[in-house]
């Protein structure tokens, strides 16, 4: 067992974990933050994307102890302080950017990383950035639209619903 300490969604936590514990299992099972999902366990699907020290990472491809001392952000910490949806979450709601919702946390976290790097991405840049995130309801169109809208761009030209 090893001791890990990190700041998760602004809250300091310390836990004893087995060295082999993946970050995603640590978040889901130890901290009970089950919004971060596991779709493949092999870093292909992107449902487990979280931010570690501001960088988007696939939490199934990282050990919890590797995040020792880090600041970790998950979907549960994305809403505004008053509990209202943040601009990306709100855009997903406004533009019907989710269906089954399983890929959504990873999509929202990836979108947040993109908009931090590139506040006004083109549609092509959004699609390219999402290549590590799979949606199986095939709702990509509205996801792209939501992210474009969250960046403050006019999305009426991205085709009608």
């Amino acid at each position: 067992m090893a001791s890990v300490a990190m700041v998760v969604n602004g809250k300091s936590i310390t836990r004893e974990v087995e060295g082999r514990t993946l970050l995603v299992d640590f978040l889901r099972d130890d901290l009970r933050l089950t919004g971060t999902h596991v779709g493949c366990d092999t870093s292909q699907c992107g449902a487990c994307v979280v931010h570690v020290n501001g960088q988007s990472v696939k939490a199934c491809a990282m050990f919890a102890i590797e995040a020792d001392g880090a600041e970790v952000a998950t979907i549960e910490g994305q809403a505004n302080k008053d509990g209202s949806l943040n601009v990306i979450q709100q855009a997903f709601q406004d533009h019907h950017g989710l269906q089954c919702g399983f890929c959504t946390p990873g999509m929202v976290m990836t979108a947040a990383a993109l908009l931090k790097e590139n506040p006004k991405p083109t549609e092509a840049e959004v699609r390219s950035y999402l290549e590590g995130n799979i949606c199986r309801c095939t709702g990509y169109h509205n996801i792209v639209k939501a992210i474009m809208a969250a960046s403050g761009q006019d999305v009426t030209a991205i085709a009608a619903e």
Binding site: R32, H37, V38, C40, D41, E161
Partner: protein, 629 residues
């Protein structure tokens, strides 16, 4: 409605889906109301099996499961429309396994009719056969039937609840119920007095639910409009509960490794796995093993460490052999000849075209791999499982746990994708077997992605052979043969242990039932003898038949030197005027000029989709055509 006994006898001759119900049950069961599975707690009122009212608000009990299609929102909107519930006041829960939630539309789709041309007789027949779903306790989310099934039923529930609330308020206010109106979750008196529904929960308990007429479409507030999804907030904030999110104190984590060749095991050696620190148990499941451990990843690693000798498959080892088995079905007598217009054997003058098409097996590949959480306590089983068939799940799990179905509690969670895959019960049964081997220990079973891809019930691989004749710029003949393993037969065997005789209409849907008037037009269905597991997958046979038929029609249009839209329009005009109208309208909407530019191709891609929606829309009840997602 027509006499069900007569209908059952008729369906024996023409349908296959109906037979299991038609012969196995007496008519009296149909007339008995399905019991309401809900029991009101203190201060609560149960108003139909679909509505629960208490001091907190209105809870709609959805009879269908949410896998992303938005059904819980739509079913709630149907209730709210009649009941006058403010949208923000609605909570939606999935119902327990219960006969009351049977799907009355599911079996109707198995009838060998062209749905775009329903007559009154056929419509009654479809409804009559739907009643057999009640006998079978057919609580299934699938076949694109949820709206057809709930469209009137959920509104009737809302209307009855509304009138009952008015009666309760009338008694309190000392006025006639007919003088009261309802809006925004309140009953409103002529003097403006407002009583919240929540305040009437106690009083409305003892009022018999009146049967009332549904409101006309002109008065609708919610239906036909885009409503905020009820599941959106939880899904966007990470608080939505999927089956793998269940946390129970003392929980152990399991995975399975099942024969990818879908047979048994010759032998296995779990010595290495058992010595891994944190592994609790390796369980023999007959066709594979389950590992229980202190976390999911460890269980997966340990499952890989088990040395297993698999039995061989009952089907060819390679794709080429499977496709040969499918092609061999062309030489068998057809299972169905649902479409047989004119005479395709006649000598027709013109240009002959032939084509052969092949499509592969496809996995559902839901984002959330198969999983379930189960707790067996010796005499009771509680299971959390995202599933499309709660009654079947309950019964199959009860059987392997060796307890009565009544001793099983099924929590149908949200699904991270279903697409038909979660209409199967295999994963819930596995979780039950693991839990039953470790009584008192909650078990969360999760498949690896690899296990999920290897153990699907696939959309069948299929082949088609088409022959066509064009003359004078128009189609004169289409003779199509479709060969594939039968989803319907395999699925019936899995769920009911028997294969109903008769034609498998679903096998040729999307081809035999299209509104094209070709003078000589035949579609035959050939069922391949191939044991690769197949199941219901995202529109099932329409997913390949639509491709086969319409690609061939493009070939014919090309051979005829005719614009493909005009070519189809001519065929639809001969057969079904409304379908022709849809094709014309879409041509106008996308500015079709016949020029084959990329833009026009993309924008006109909705064409066949729209036509298909129209076809499945039943009797012109205003199902709105929509852009595909």
């Amino acid at each position: 409605m027509a006499n069900i006994r007569k209908i059952a006898r008729r369906t024996f001759l023409i349908g296959s889906a109906a037979i299991a119900g038609g012969v196995a049950f007496g008519v009296y069961q149909l007339r008995k109301d399905a019991p309401n599975p809900l029991v009101a707690g203190a201060g609560e009122a149960v108003l139909t099996p679909f509505i629960l009212l208490n001091q907190d608000g209105v809870t709609v009990i959805a009879p269908r499961a949410e896998m992303g299609q938005g059904v819980q929102t739509t079913l709630a909107a149907l209730v709210a429309e009649e009941m006058d519930v403010a949208w923000a006041d609605i909570t939606v829960l999935h119902g327990p396994p219960a006969q009351a939630y049977y799907n009355q539309a599911l079996l109707g789709i198995a009838l060998p009719f062209r749905h775009y041309a329903d007559t009154d007789f056929r419509h009654s027949l479809r409804q009559g056969i739907g009643q057999i779903g009640k006998l079978l306790h057919l609580q299934v989310t699938g076949g694109s039937t949820s709206m057809k099934d709930g469209y009137e039923r959920m509104r009737h529930a809302g209307a009855s609840a509304r009138e009952a609330l008015k009666l309760a308020a009338a008694a309190q206010l000392g006025v006639a119920a007919s003088d009261l109106r309802t809006a925004d979750s309140h009953v409103i008196a002529p003097d403006g007095t407002r009583i919240a529904y929540t305040a009437l929960a106690e009083a409305v308990r003892d009022i018999d639910l009146p049967d009332v007429e549904l409101r006309p479409r002109s008065e609708w507030k919610y239906l036909g409009k885009s409503m905020p999804r009820v599941d959106m907030l939880a899904k966007a904030t990470g608080t939505a509960q999927f089956a793998g999110d269940v946390q129970i104190e003392g929980m152990q984590f399991a995975t399975v490794r099942i024969n990818p060749k879908r047979a048994g095991m010759v032998s296995y050696d779990d010595t290495a796995a058992r010595t891994m620190d944190g592994v609790t148990a390796v369980i023999d499941l007959g066709d594979g093993i389950a590992v229980v451990a202190s976390n999911t990843w460890l269980a997966m690693q340990a499952a890989q460490a088990v040395d297993i000798v698999w039995q061989d498959a009952a089907y060819p080892a390679e794709t080429a052999g499977m496709m040969a088995a499918i092609a061999a079905a062309f030489d068998l007598e057809p299972n169905s000849t649902v479409r047989d217009d004119g005479d395709v054997t006649a000598a027709i003058e013109g240009t002959e075209i032939v084509a052969e098409y092949t499509v592969p097996f496809l996995a559902h590949a839901t984002m959330e791999p198969m999983n379930a959480t189960a707790l067996f306590t010796g005499d009771r089983l509680e299971i959390w499982t995202g599933n499309q068939a709660p009654v079947m799940t309950r019964d199959k799990c009860a059987a392997v746990a060796g307890i009565a179905p009544e001793a099983v509690t099924v929590h149908t969670t949200l699904m991270g994708g279903g697409f038909g895959r979660r209409a199967e019960t295999d994963y819930s049964v596995q979780a039950t077997r693991i839990a039953a081997a470790l009584p008192g220990t909650p078990i969360r079973m999760t498949w690896t992605r690899e296990e999920d891809m290897r153990h699907d019930f696939y959309r069948p691989a299929a082949m088609a052979r088409f022959r066509g004749v064009v003359a004078d710029g128009a189609a004169q003949l289409i003779d199509g043969q479709i060969a594939a393993p039968s989803v319907f037969q395999q699925s019936s065997f899995r769920q009911m242990g028997q294969v109903p005789p008769g034609p498998d209409r679903a096998h040729v849907e999307g081809a035999a039932d299209q509104p094209y008037g070709v003078p000589n037009f035949r579609i035959t269905g050939h069922l391949a003898d191939l044991a690769v597991p197949v199941g219901f997958w995202r529109s099932v046979a329409a997913s390949f038949n639509g491709f086969f038929l319409d690609t061939f029609i493009d070939e014919m249009a090309h051979a005829a030197g005719t614009d493909p839209l005009q070519f189809r329009l001519a065929l639809a005009e001969r057969e079904h005027a409304p379908s022709a109208g849809v094709i014309r309208a879409v041509g106008e909407m996308c500015g079709w000029t016949g020029r084959n530019t990329r833009q026009y191709r993309a924008r006109c891609g909705v064409l066949s989709f729209l036509r298909d929606r129209h076809r499945t829309g039943g009797r012109g009840r205003g199902h709105r055509a929509r852009h595909p997602h």
